[in-house]
């Protein structure tokens, strides 16, 4: 029973000091949760602390691998706009990669 931080984490540090079990640590390329220490905050708080402050949708998964903060739940940005934005970002990124290899 443990939460997990995945690669969309932007290393903002917000979750780290909140964990009642010191389960979160700074690592490369992003913060990590020590699965042995994480209790999902049960017994300490009503809500998992890391997932309650994390500003990045989808960066934290529960023990079933489900996004605790799904897309659109925090920013209120409609899904299709986000998808468009992501596609544009990816295109820019790809163009930059192509430029480099050219």
């Amino acid at each position: 029973m443990a939460f997990e931080i995945i690669e969309s984490c932007v290393n903002c540090y917000a979750c780290e000091p909140l964990c009642p079990n010191d389960a979160i640590y700074q690592a490369k390329p992003h913060f990590m949760i020590d699965a042995d220490k994480c209790t999902e905050c049960i017994g300490d708080f009503m809500d998992a602390q890391c997932a309650s402050i994390c500003p990045i949708e989808g960066a934290i998964l529960d023990d079933l691998g489900t996004e605790v903060n799904p897309i659109g739940s925090l920013t209120g940005i409609p899904m299709e706009l986000l998808a468009q934005y992501q596609a544009a970002l990816d295109a820019t990124y790809q163009a930059a990669l192509n430029d480099k290899s050219a």
Binding site: V10, N11, C12, Y13, A14, P17, L18, F45, M46, D47, Q49, S52, I53, P55, I56, L74, T75, G76, I77, L81, L82, Y85, A88, L89
Partner: protein, 507 residues
């Protein structure tokens, strides 16, 4: 002894022509403040329009975490080409930050203020923020400290703030009404819970107001920043201004929303427009009242280094400061000398201003050659290219921003600044088929004159065609004197009774 015969208007000219850099309100913008506050802010580049030409500030990015979400912020965004609050490329540890501050202070003696503003919220990172302040208070006591916060954690941080003797706090207050707040803040983190929408906004507002009152009670200067979001809080900000002034804020600074789709923010993606220059100016005028606004605010990045509007951060990256040997006690001596020199210069200017004000009071005409018909003249906006020092000393093509002044029948006042792309960097950098010159011309809309130390042949035609007269005749002159001189030329040429060129064309 032969005296030349003077007619009244010449006498008035010589009376008004004293060497002062500020006429009326701009030079005197701190005049209404009590002495102890003036003492604190007179050499603070963020608070004093005059000081920002001479002194520099820096921010260090030690505070990555945030406890709220704003619709104009995207925590994923990180780009060193962007110059917006909350945007920063390198998060520093307190030790690195202290080293960087001392390196900058030793190399840029004009740096008087160190601020922590992000990239998250400083008070949501209390250990990192206060560790930095503690070290700096001890090692570099000649640097003023300030902090900029969303206010949520302010009440609980006040005791700690007072300990570090931080005398300036900026609170970003966008609303005092939770219904408005619900449209700006999607969530806050409060007492171990994420609280969404209006409910969260209500708590945030309460904490901000409480924090403001507590700071005012303890004699700590509070500046309030507001982001103007058209259709969301623009009509509400006059009320915000009234409330925060009543609670003791000494400055209220209204800034424009910056929202572009490529920022990936809620407002950016939803197509929320920012205010036009005119809308912003109108609101700033409505809010200013007897409290002067920070028209010169540049909305610096959270890791900005240098004079307002410039960023020398690249000279002080981590690997570069690693190699710097800093003898701070020696630097402090040099810094004190530089500060004393600038202070002396500012003092002379103050005296000149005071003398001028005396003249005006005594019934002399305060402004060069402008007589009773002056108030009937229409005001004119002029753009100025400057590298600092209060003089016109930047080439048109090198300017990445212009200061905007308004000359009118009774004074010259500083209105704000407009950023652009340096024309000489070439037109192909800005995409969308719009050249750098097009961007500049668009940014300078409403201005009738652009003053710079030099302007090339090429931009001349397009500028004139856009109704903006380029003028390189006042290089190295004090800005406000030059603006006034050009205004006077326009008056003599009869241009001030007529409508501006562009409006004539449109009509």
């Amino acid at each position: 002894m032969d005296l030349p015969v003077l007619n009244t208007s010449e006498a008035a000219e010589s009376g008004g022509g004293c060497d002062s850099h500020s006429c009326g309100s701009t030079g005197d913008q701190l005049g209404h403040l009590p002495e102890h506050i003036r003492e604190k802010v007179h050499n603070h580049p963020c608070y004093s329009e005059q000081a920002h030409h001479y002194f520099a500030r820096m921010h260090v990015a030690v505070a990555p975490a945030c406890n709220i979400q704003c619709h104009y912020c995207n925590r994923k965004y990180d780009c060193s080409n962007e110059s917006r609050p909350g945007v920063v490329s390198e998060v520093l540890t307190p030790e690195q930050a202290v080293k960087k501050v001392m390196a900058v202070a030793a190399n840029i003696p004009q740096m008087t203020v160190l601020g922590i503003a992000g990239p998250g919220d400083p008070l949501a990172n209390p250990e990192r923020t206060f560790e930095t302040f503690r070290e700096l208070t001890e090692k570099a006591p000649d640097i003023k400290l300030c902090v900029s916060t969303n206010g949520l954690a302010l009440p609980e941080s006040i005791d700690e703030l007072c300990k570090h003797n931080i005398d300036h706090v900026t609170i970003t207050i966008n609303c005092v009404d939770p219904d408005v707040g619900g449209k700006i803040y999607p969530w806050i983190f409060w007492k171990n819970k994420r609280i969404m929408g209006r409910e969260g906004a209500a708590i945030l507002i309460e904490q901000q107001q409480k924090g403001l009152e507590m700071l005012a009670e303890r004699g700590i200067l509070v500046k309030v920043n507001s982001v103007m979001i058209p259709g969301v809080n623009d009509a509400h900000l006059a009320e915000v201004s009234r409330v925060v002034k009543a609670k003791g804020a000494f400055l209220h600074n209204v800034m424009p929303l910056i929202a572009e789709p490529e920022h990936g923010t809620f407002y950016g993606l939803m197509g929320q427009p920012g205010p036009t220059h005119e809308e912003l100016q109108k609101l700033q005028d409505a809010c200013s009242g007897d409290m002067n606004m920070m028209r010169h605010c540049r909305q610096c990045r959270a890791d900005a280094v240098g004079m307002l509007g410039e960023d020398r951060g690249q000279e002080f990256t981590l690997d570069k400061i690693e190699d710097m040997e800093i003898d701070y006690p020696a630097a402090m001596v040099k810094r004190a000398e530089v500060h004393a020199r600038i202070e002396a210069e500012l003092k002379i200017k103050d005296q000149a201003n005071a003398a001028k004000a005396e003249l005006a009071k005594a019934g002399w005409v305060a402004i060069q050659g402008m007589k009773q018909d002056a108030p009937k003249l229409r005001p004119v906006l002029m753009a100025v290219a400057t590298k600092g020092g209060g003089v016109i000393n930047e080439h048109f093509g090198h300017a990445s921003e212009f200061l905007i002044y308004e000359a009118s029948g009774h004074d010259v006042r500083f209105i704000g600044h407009r950023k652009t792309l340096p024309y000489c960097d070439g037109g192909d950098t800005c995409g969308d088929g719009e050249s750098a010159l097009d961007v500049t011309i668009r940014e300078l809309s409403g201005c009738e004159v652009v003053l710079c130390s030099k302007v090339g042949y090429e931009p001349w035609g397009p500028l004139e065609a856009a109704g903006i007269t380029p003028n390189g005749e006042h290089a190295m002159e004090a800005i406000e004197d030059a603006v006034l001189a050009v205004y006077e030329e326009m008056r003599v040429a009869g241009k001030l009774e007529a409508k501006p060129l562009m409006q004539q064309k449109a009509a």
